[in-house]
């Protein structure tokens, strides 16, 4: 009977824990006096209403970090800050006292909770499974940067998300300023590229890295955000995929490049994993591609983030114009 006694002890303990749980989840948060009207916005799951302006914000994907910075707000917590600094170069600094809350794949829920945020911003495709956990910490906005609906371009989604965030944070005018500047930027860049008199305006854009020691090229499709940006400044995407790519790129290897060799080759590659200088250097197919022979290869640098927001768009445009003008 000894073991029965021990079991009942454990189970009783657990039952009491379950019982206590329901009493403790509700805790009144310290309300700040705010005289703003409540706003209601639409996110990937439906409508969310904000009574007051969120101040402590945790961003679980890099694009939302730079969106906050664009609006002049420092987040309190960010997933994988080290990665953010390596990959995302924008014209706004992330403050040093921002707390790292773990990986983008499995953010540390307790680290988020400890920051006592009043808003969490997360991508739906990663965190749908922990929706209720995140919402227990703070109101959470979910966005879907890769719309499965083919009629919505990734670029439009990015703009809508940026505006939605601005609305919630009562920064509408700041958002308009940023977007107007961006449109002006596109106009200027278009002029500069026309003046550069390129032999062709066609391009392919690729993010390249090695996998299984073999080079992999993510070649961006016309529905991708980065491709739309480049088309806005007067370039034309030469790559047309056979089927709809929801993430906005196809994974190709070097065999697929001859069909695209007439275009300008614009690429993003990390310095420590430069497949063009390592793996492909001695490859016969690569060496004989027209854009390699004619030196129409334009690096954007490893920290031009092609999945970002308006600030990354500035960086991408600057880098593309610089690269194209140089030659």
């Amino acid at each position: 009977m000894k073991r029965l006694a021990i079991f009942s002890l454990i189970f009783a303990l657990v039952l009491s824990l379950v019982a206590c749980n329901s009493n403790n989840t509700q805790e009144s948060s310290t309300n700040k006096e705010s005289n703003v009207e409540p706003v209601t916005v639409k996110d990937a799951f439906g409508e969310v209403t904000f009574e007051k302006v969120p101040e402590k914000i945790v961003a679980l994907e890099w694009v939302y970090v730079e969106n906050l910075l664009a609006l002049g707000i420092q987040p309190v917590g960010v997933a994988d800050i080290e990665g953010y600094k390596a990959w995302v170069k924008v014209d706004a600094e992330l403050s040093d006292d921002v707390v790292d809350v773990g990986t983008r794949q499995e953010p540390n829920l307790e680290a988020i909770a400890q920051l006592q945020p009043d808003l969490i911003i997360a991508p739906k495709f990663r965190h749908e499974a922990i929706k209720s956990d995140l919402e227990a910490i703070a109101p959470t906005l979910f966005f879907e940067p890769y719309p499965t609906d083919e009629s919505i371009s990734q670029y439009d989604e990015m703009i809508t998300t940026f505006k939605t965030m601005a609305k919630v944070l009562r920064k509408d005018s700041e958002a308009d300023t940023v977007l107007n500047k961006l449109n002006k930027k596109y106009e200027d860049a278009k002029d500069l590229i026309e003046q550069a008199e390129l032999s062709t305006n066609e391009f392919i854009l690729t993010q390249a890295f090695s996998s299984q020691q073999a080079p992999v090229l993510r070649v961006f499709t016309p529905n991708s955000m980065a491709s739309v940006i480049l088309e806005k400044i007067g370039l034309m995407n030469a790559y047309k995929p056979a089927k709809f790519e929801v993430y906005g790129f196809s994974q190709l290897n070097v065999e697929a490049l001859p069909a695209l060799e007439k275009s300008n080759f614009i690429y993003v590659v990390q310095d420590n994993d430069n497949i063009f200088e390592n793996q492909l250097k001695d490859n016969a197919v690569w060496q004989n591609l027209e854009f390699v022979k004619e030196d129409r290869m334009y690096p954007l640098g490893g920290d031009a983030w092609l999945f970002g927001g308006p600030l990354s768009a500035f960086t991408v445009v600057d880098r593309v114009v610089n690269a194209l003008e140089k030659k």
């Binding site: 073991r3 495709f125 299984q212 993430y247 065999e255």
Partner: protein, 660 residues
């Protein structure tokens, strides 16, 4: 060596070559640039672009396939002769995995050396694995036991490699999927690098042929015929390791080719090592090129690792071979063993309760980044909503899942009277994983709520296959475990292929497959809690009958026990407990193996006591693993499944060594 075909070897050789040529033709037409077979032939002399693609990419890949397949096959042939073991090969002896682990270590810690000596490093790894297998599998070198030891060493090195890759993601980026071997070549450097070594190895093998023929007659006969067996054996081992290591250092670990090719050659009725070397090389090349062709038919314009394809074909083959060797096994009764001088049960319960409470307090007091201090405890930090929301349900889920795994292990081991039985060893875990994966890919729109059912179906299919195949040998411990590992290999291969095929759409599935207690909340806790509440009392009733069963089936039925009904209900209960746990936390293994075994060493043979102690141990193990996973890299997390595997595989080896 019974011959199936009575044909002349030369005729078979020509036939094999024809087959290889046809496969090579198909292989050359595959790739992202679309060229038909006809245009490949007609345009090769005029189209420079086509020449680049064929000569710069496709031909090196094909040639590397010949070399790698051939080298692995010859290595397999030698290992089979040397160990007198039809189940031997570089992959089943853990040699590939060991070599690969060393390559990964050197990439991370000595990045400047690896470029110069990748072969040397992988040779050291290969030799070390071989020594480990020989050392651990005992003097008699029983075939099934040797193979099982090798497969477990493979598992162990793979989980080490997995852990390293997770910790050093950037440094090993290029290695990540290479883990299962790929033939991708970008120029002729891989071929150039390995050609000389492989040709040397094959030449030595060819020259050694007659000596090995003598060796097969038995050591004594060989000695009496004036052979220095030590020299011959040493040279043959060296050659086999050389061939395996050079292959791994270029294409990564590719399994099962070395196992299958020599068997095909024997089935064709080839005798004498010289001609066997030639034929093995040919058939190794055919198998590997065939697998690569098949991989690219399944997923055109994507790269399924060819190692996954060979495992898919080779797993069933290993199962069949094990089944055949199993017939020879005497139908001896298995024994579970257990300490004869048990520790006082009462004291043990007190100590374990103390330990459990201690571990739980530690786990609960650790948040994302810091510990609660004593003051926090007294000031009621424990009642803070987030501790309630995240920490407590997570720790408790780990506790109950650990208990469920442990008790399901007790049931499996008790019924099969097999100390090596466990969900992960018997392939139930990866079978369940494959079931869930197939479900995710086939029905992408359907709610994830049904995922557990898919996992349960996959698990039941695996255990049924294994039990049916090992029926004749009365579920002999070691044979059963080897079959489990074979089924496991197939399950993992299916998972890997589907991951590549379905691309990023299965990202949530990947986390789940790693086996993780991440973000488990009250909903999950409710499910495991109810399962525990229902199944544990039933288990406690059932295990009493296991005591009776341990006298042997005949005595047990003499004592009035319905033997078959008891066995089947215990297995079903165990699979149910395991599948529910797997569907909650993913593919966490080894707890069902460790807990009951440690329990037996503490309290002897009484199943009731073993079960209770296992409950404690299983809970302690998983709570600790979860804590370590959260603690080491905080705020980043390591999946607890990986932590358990790092502890579990070495223990399994130890256990195997002890199993008589």
């Amino acid at each position: 060596m019974k011959s199936v075909f009575k044909r002349k070897p030369s005729f078979l050789l020509v036939g094999g070559f024809l087959l290889l040529i046809i496969l090579s033709m198909v292989h050359l037409t595959q790739g992202q640039a679309n060229y038909s077979f006809i245009s490949l032939i007609t345009d090769i002399s005029i189209d420079e672009r086509l020449q680049d693609i064929v000569l710069g990419l496709r031909l090196p890949r094909l040639v590397m396939g010949f070399l790698a397949g051939g080298a692995l096959a010859v290595a397999g042939l030698f290992l089979q002769t040397l160990t007198k073991n039809p189940l031997a090969s570089a992959s089943t002896l853990g040699i590939n995995a060991g070599a690969y682990f060393f390559v990964v270590v050197s990439v991370i810690y000595f990045p400047t050396y690896i470029g110069k000596y990748p072969f040397l490093v992988s040779f050291i790894g290969a030799s070390l694995s071989a020594l480990l297998v020989m050392g651990l599998s005992g003097k008699t070198m029983e075939p099934v036991r040797v193979a099982l030891t090798g497969m477990i060493i493979s598992l162990m090195f793979s989980s080490f490699t997995g852990a390293l890759q997770l910790l050093f993601e950037n440094e090993t980026n290029g290695l990540f999927l290479w883990g299962s071997g790929t033939l991708i070549q970008l120029d002729w450097s891989g071929v150039k690098f390995s050609l000389l070594f492989i040709l040397t190895g094959i030449t030595i093998s060819f020259l050694l042929g007659p000596q090995l023929d003598l060796l097969r007659l038995g050591d004594e006969t060989a000695v009496s015929l004036g052979q220095s067996i030590f020299k011959v054996k040493a040279l043959a081992w060296f050659t086999a390791l050389l061939l395996a290591a050079i292959t791994v250092s270029v294409v990564g670990p590719i399994g099962f080719v070395g196992l299958m090719a020599p068997h095909i050659v024997r089935l064709l009725g080839i005798n004498g090592h010289r001609s066997m070397v030639v034929h093995s090389f040919l058939w190794g090349a055919i198998l590997l090129i065939g697998a690569d062709v098949l991989a690219r038919i399944i997923a055109p314009s994507q790269e399924i690792p060819v190692g996954a394809m060979t495992a898919l074909i080779g797993g069933p083959w290993l199962l069949y071979l094990a089944y055949k060797s199993g017939k020879k096994f005497h139908k001896g009764e298995n024994r579970l063993g257990g300490s004869e001088t048990p520790i006082s049960y009462g004291w043990l319960l007190v100590c374990l309760s103390g330990l459990l409470i201690g571990v739980m307090l530690l786990a609960i007091s650790f948040g994302g980044t810091s510990f609660l201090t004593f003051d926090d405890w007294f000031q009621g930090a424990i009642t803070s909503p987030f501790v309630w929301q995240f920490r407590i349900p997570r720790v408790l889920t780990a506790l109950f899942v650990g208990m469920l795994f442990a008790v399901s292990g007790v049931l499996l081991q008790g019924v099969l009277r097999n100390p090596l039985a466990d969900h992960s060893v018997l392939g139930i875990t990866s079978g369940g994983g494959a079931g869930a994966m197939i479900f995710l890919v086939l029905f992408p729109g359907v709610s994830v709520i049904f995922l557990p059912f898919a996992a349960i179906i996959g698990a039941i299919v695996s255990i049924t296959i294994i039990l049916l195949f090992s029926w004749k040998s009365r579920w002999n411990s070691i044979l059963l475990a080897l079959m489990g590992v074979a089924v496991s290999a197939v399950g993992s291969a299916i998972i890997q292929i589907l991951v590549v095929k379905a691309k990023l759409g299965v990202a949530p599935a990947l986390t789940w497959l790693a086996g993780s207690t991440y973000a488990k909340g009250w909903d999950e806790l409710r499910i495991v809690f109810i399962t525990t509440l229902v199944t544990i009392p039933i288990s406690l009733l059932l295990v009493k009958k296991l005591d009776v069963l341990s006298f042997g089936d005949e005595i047990a039925s003499g004592l009035g026990l319905k033997v078959s009904a008891t066995k089947i209900s215990a297995i079903l209960l165990s699979v149910f407990m395991g599948s529910v746990s797997i569907s909650i936390v993913g593919t966490i293994g080894f707890i069902g193996l460790l807990a009951p075994h440690i329990a037996r060493r503490m309290v002897g043979v009484n199943h009731g006591r073993i079960t209770v102690i296992s409950l404690f141990l299983g809970g302690i193990l998983l709570v600790t693993a979860d804590f370590i996973g959260r603690f080491i890299l905080a705020p980043k997390e390591i999946p607890s499944g990986l932590v358990v595997a790092l502890i579990g595989t070495p223990y399994l080896l130890y256990l195997l060594r002890k199993t008589k």
